[in-house]
Amino acid sequence: MIAPKVLLWTGFIFPLVGCMGTQAGHLYNMKTGQTSTIQMESPEYSNGKVKGTLPDGASCDGQFSEVSTENARKITTVTPMLTENSVASVAVLNCGSGRVLRCTLARRQWREFSYGECQDQQGVEYSLVF
C-alpha cells in the first residue's frame, strides 16, 4: 500500500524540484545575435564541468571555479554586474582549433548560476543568461 503513495508524491515532487544535476544557459553572441546553449554540471558547487556549443556550432568543454568578486574583476576582461552579496565564478572552455572562451559568471551563494559575460580570443563578446 506504500507504493501508490510513494508514486503519488514522486509525481508531485519531481516536476517541482526538477533535475538538479545540470543547469542550461542561453549564450548570445552580442555581435551577430546568434544563440546557443551552455550546460553547467553541479552548478551549486564551487567548481565543476561546463560543456556546450558556440552559436556558430563549435563544441566546447571546460571547467568553472569560484573566485572572489575582486579577483574575478582582475583576471577577466569582461565582468558582469557583481555585488558583495553574490558569488563570482570563472569558466574557461576549449572550443577546438585553438579557440578558447573565457566567462565570468554571477550567482547566489550555494545556488545555481544567474548570468555571465564571455569573450573569445577575437574579442567577440557573449552574454549568458540562465
Binding site: M30, G33, M81, T83, S114, Y115
Partner: protein
Amino acid sequence: MLRLSMLLCAITTFVGCAVDHQGYLLKTETGQQSRVVFHDKPNRNHGTVEAVLANGEQCQGQFNTIPDQVTRNWENYDDIEAEESQLGVAVLQCADHHVVKCDFSRAQQGNGSGRCLDNQGQKYTLNF
C-alpha cells in the same frame, strides 16, 4: 475535503505566485517608446521577458538576478532573509538576429530601471 485543502496548501507553498511587471524601453537616440513585460517566476529571482519595439518587432528572452542589498539573519549572518534589491540581466531576441541586452536594478517589489544596448549599437533606457 481536508485532504483537498492540504493539497492546495502544499501546491501554493511550492509553486507560489508568478507576477508580471510592465514597463517600457525608451530608445535614447529617437525617444521612441516600446512596451516591455517581465514575467517573474514564483521565486522572484528570474523569469521571461517580452517586448514589442516601436517598429513592431516582437522580442522574447530571459532575465536572471543576483542579490544586491539584503537583510541577513542576526543569528546566522550567512543566511539571507530578504533581498531588498537585486541586480539583473535580461537578453531579448528579436527578429533577424537582433538582440537587446539590458542591465537593471530592481526593488523587492519588482519595479526597477536599467539601460540596454543592442547588437546594432542602439541604446535604450529601461523602466518597469
